[in-house]
Amino acid sequence: MKSIEQKHMDTITAFIKNPSNENILNQTNQFFTNQLIEAFVDRTYEVVETFTKGEKVIARILITGTHRGMFAGNTATDKTVKITQFREFHVVDGEIINQHGWFDTGTLLPQIKIEYLLNSKQSKSI
């Protein structure tokens, strides 16, 4: 029999893998969100790990995309990048009641910034 945690994980994994939910996955409260979605195209989403506590599930999602537009003052590099998103879900009886997402930019900027690309020693996250 599946544990509650396993059921929650199945619920949110199915949600993230469903292409019709991509618009929801692209929403956060961060001011640059629209710019990020426009700048990085051909995105694919993968759940890397999940953490569960009662009705709460936090998923670490790895988004792979191509840098085709201006982001945070950086012009398109055409590079393939990996963007981490954390998304927190409230799950009750197998249903997602609410959720909020957050993009990590500490590991994104070194992938597209010229000064970081010239000196890979600085390519660290925070």
């Binding site: 640059f32 569960t52 709460k56 954390f86 957050w102 930019t105 500490g106 590991t107 660290k124 925070i126």
Partner: protein
């Protein structure tokens, strides 16, 4: 009796308080294992060096734990760091501006010692707040 997860949460919470808030950088000797893996700052020394950079740039910085979940050996923390930009930060002169930035940290705890850390932070928001833009 405390569960393994509760104990691990306690270890991580204490480390955040002592190391990140009280700036007791030698606390790494007590909290981190000998085979500690640092996945964001390169090494234990890199972690201490970065914490010092933050302390110099934001002397009043405070980290608050907003969410913490333990699962087996892993502990995931969502935090906010708040402070005033009063020292040079990666070449940027002090602006006096306030920062309030979200970060996530994932720790691994074995036998009461932290054996691994990986961190993620929103640097675009942080630079925007530093520059006041």
């Amino acid at each position: 009796m405390e569960s393994l997860e509760e104990k691990n949460v306690e270890v991580v919470s204490k480390f955040i308080d002592v190391f990140w808030n009280d700036s007791d950088f030698d606390a790494t000797e007590r909290f981190l294992s000998e085979d500690y893996q640092e996945l964001s700052y390169g090494s234990k020394e890199g972690l201490k060096k970065f914490a010092k950079t933050i302390l110099d740039a934001f002397p009043d910085k405070q980290y608050s734990v907003e969410e913490i979940i333990a699962q087996g050996e892993k502990v995931l923390v969502r935090m906010e760091v708040r402070g005033t930009h009063e020292g040079v930060f990666f070449g940027t002169a002090p602006t006096g501006n306030q920062i309030d930035v979200t970060l996530y940290r994932r720790y691994r705890v074995v036998d009461g010692k932290i054996t691994e850390h990986h961190g993620w932070i929103d640097m675009v928001t942080m630079w925007s707040q530093i520059r006041g833009s």
